[in-house]
């Protein structure tokens, strides 16, 4: 295998990881821009999506199981917002962030006792464990194409929703100035519920498409949330385009760091870069310091 092929293979491997981080980061950003809350339970939506889909897939065909899981988790997301955040609007953002941490722990524990500690996974959507697609001499699992496709579709739909639909525009208004949005008759509370539901649904979808690659276990949410979070910050919080770019960047960075450094310090590289970006360019690589969707947190 030539060095050019190797570089390409590292790149593809980075994209595999990066696409996973990106789809988690999109959900992160959605809630952040609508409510200003950093939702540390985002990884748990991913885990729940995978778990529920695996369970449902014993009874119904795969597409139905995935749809069911997405809808269920979206409803759970809405429910959580209504139960915990709607009443707390007077609380500071710090309090709400702490609550999401609590929720993440509790959801994880519920999943542990509802299912168990075992690792599950959905079947590969196309092909199987050993199939791969050749790209100029390097190879990639077809499931990664599914993940990338899902990221693209979610991104386009979300973009269209935020740009053209009434609800989406209201959400953006709410994001850039909640008081003004309220004054012009937008029901902020409902929008927040919607943003939680949407983001939970996206998370669940992510949990389903990545399940064949990463497998699903009750404690997978934490590390994913943290990586997604890093991706979101790198790309600029509240910026959906940035989330995708940030996610891919973190993934590729990790992959190439493996080629030079011991893999044990893989994550260290990723987080060190994150800290650097935080300190040097806190608005993220793709965020403008005063632009739309950037808010204090």
């Amino acid at each position: 295998m030539g060095s050019g092929d190797l570089i390409l293979q590292y790149l593809l491997s980075g994209i595999t990881k990066g696409s996973i981080y990106a789809i988690v980061a999109i959900g992160f950003n959605l809630i952040f821009s609508a409510t200003g809350v950093l939702n540390f339970a985002q990884g748990e939506f991913v885990m729940l999506g995978g778990m529920i889909a695996v369970t449902l897939s014993f009874y119904v065909p795969l597409p139905v199981a995935i749809t069911g899981a997405v809808i269920l988790v979206a409803l759970i997301g809405c429910l959580l917002e209504v139960l915990f955040f709607r009443r707390l609007r007077r609380h500071s953002i710090m309090h709400m962030v702490i609550i999401t941490i609590g929720l993440s722990i509790v959801i994880q524990e519920i999943a542990l006792h509802l299912w168990d500690e075992k690792v599950r996974s959905l079947p590969y959507f196309t092909g199987k464990e050993i199939s791969s697609v050749a790209v100029f001499g390097a190879t990639i699992s077809p499931q990664v194409l599914w993940v990338l496709g899902t990221v693209a579709v979610v991104f386009v739909l979300l973009h269209a929703f935020l740009r053209y639909s009434l609800q989406g525009r209201a959400m953006r208004a709410c994001s850039s100035n909640p008081e003004a949005a309220m004054l012009s008759g937008i029901n902020i509370a409902n929008l927040r519920t919607l943003s939680f539901g949407l983001s939970a649904g996206i998370g669940a979808l992510a949990g389903c498409v990545i399940s064949p690659i990463t497998m699903t276990q009750y404690e997978m949410g934490g590390p994913l949330a943290i990586k997604g979070f890093a991706a979101a910050i790198l790309g600029g919080l509240g910026n959906p385009m940035g989330a995708v770019a940030g996610g891919l960047l973190v993934g590729v960075l990790e992959a190439f760091s493996v080629s030079k450094l011991p893999a044990a310090y893989n994550d260290v590289t990723a987080f060190a870069v994150l800290l650097l970006v935080l300190f040097v360019r806190p608005q993220g690589l793709f965020g403008s310091p005063t632009g739309d969707g950037v808010r204090e947190f």
């Binding site: 190797l6 590292y10 075992k118 690792v119 050993i130 190879t139 699992s141 690659i213 404690e219 992959a255």
Partner: protein, 388 residues
């Protein structure tokens, strides 16, 4: 109203604190024999602790139904350490000082075991660990034993198989948990003597989502003839899958952590041909009836799977052996005097457990010979004995 609830809550907490159970140590007839257990039932090592806990509970229940030990019931006090060493220390002290148990079984991980090894030795408390690392019993501590086969034995099996296949240059991958680092240490230490050269030695995160980058590095390293992977799920399945996806068609050797039929299923076709050493529990159906372990293994498998409706794993087997060793020693010593029981454990000979046949000596606190392992492979999605 809200405040009243809080007042009540506070009062309850204080009340709970005050009425802690008082431990009264009395050696009366009919008093239960107390055995403590520390398992990581939850947390990152729950894949070990959960089946161990279930197995230990099942065995003790069965024992009590059959009339207990020495005419006394056995009480198993299980503590869930969730894989944290500080909890293991706290719970070990509780079991030693308050519950005054006869022996402690567990912890599930070698990190926790090492944290309490000295503690047990100082307090002359019998510890039968369910963790595999060699350092637990080497150097030998008088009161510390362990049930799983040694990592070094697993490595010996792997190296022997490699020699038969003419492999001498390998890539070593391991996860950054206790299991992975213990295996890595053994492979590194024994490679030179076995004439094996490690060309690529990488550690990855135990919760890694994808390992194609590391395997790309392996692929880019010239001359690698086989991959050794030392980890547990999900990483061990991910390695198998990623190797096939990358078209890296060299033999994959896994550790004895591959000890659950589910894992073979999880990696699907990618697991085909994977080679790994493991206890015979996984291939009990293939064993000849003359095999001394056959009866024990078949009974354990049947009972466990009937009770818990899940596949039996070699990890649960470690819990089985720990309970077995302690109870057999109590029977043999015909006493609940801790030192007598300890001596009895040290002199257990020919005890058939799930991991193998235990022959303890004062120098060897594991008691398992190299033949406790068999080399296995995956064929048609099922784990079977590897035949040359």
């Amino acid at each position: 109203m809200k405040k009243l609830v809080l007042v009540g809550l506070g009062a309850c907490l204080v009340g709970m604190l005050l009425c802690m159970p008082t431990a009264v140590a009395a050696e009366k007839k009919g008093e239960p024999i107390k055995i403590g257990a520390i398992f990581s039932v939850t947390g990152p090592a729950s894949f070990l602790g959960a089946p161990e806990e279930k197995t230990a509970k099942m065995l003790v229940e069965k024992l009590n139904k059959e009339g207990g030990l020495l005419g006394r019931p056995v009480e198993l006090i299980i503590k869930d350490s969730a894989g944290s060493p500080e909890k293991a220390v706290s719970f070990a002290k509780q079991l030693i000082e308050e519950e005054k148990v006869l022996a402690i079984i567990g912890p599930s991980t070698s990190g926790e075991t090492m944290q309490i090894k000295n503690l047990c030795e100082e307090n002359k408390m019998i510890l039968v660990s369910c963790a595999a690392a060699e350092v637990i019993v080497n150097p030998v501590a008088k009161y510390v034993f362990k049930t799983p086969q040694k990592d070094s034995q697993a490595v010996t099996w792997i190296f022997n198989t490699m020699k038969e296949k003419g492999i001498s240059k390998v890539a070593m991958l391991s996860s950054n948990d206790g299991f992975g680092s213990a295996g890595k240490k053994q492979v590194e230490g024994m490679a030179a003597a076995a004439g094996i050269e490690i060309l690529c030695n990488e550690v990855y995160d135990k919760q890694a989502t994808d390992l194609t980058d590391i395997l790309t590095k392996v692929k880019g390293t010239a001359g690698v003839q086989a991959v050794i992977n030392w980890s547990i799920v999900p990483a061990q399945s991910i390695v198998a899958k990623n190797m096939k996806q990358l078209g890296l068609n060299i033999p994959l050797f896994q550790s004895h952590g591959f000890g659950n039929p589910k894992y073979a299923a999880a990696a699907g076709e990618a697991a085909e041909g994977t080679l790994f050493p493991a206890g015979r529990l996984l291939v009990v159906d293939e064993l000849a009836d003359s095999n001394p372990q056959k009866k024990v293994l078949a009974a354990y498998k049947k009972d466990y799977e009937a009770l818990y409706k899940e596949d039996v794993s070699t990890f649960g087997g470690h819990g089985y052996d720990a309970v077995l060793i302690v109870t057999e020693a109590i029977k043999k010593a015909n006493s609940t005097d801790r030192d007598k029981v300890r001596d009895a454990i040290e002199n257990l000979k020919g005890l058939v457990g799930t991991a193998g046949v235990f022959n303890m000596t004062p120098q060897d606190h594991t008691g398992l010979a190299l033949d406790a392992f068999e080399m296995m492979t995956v064929k048609g999605g099922k784990i079977t004995l590897y035949k040359k």
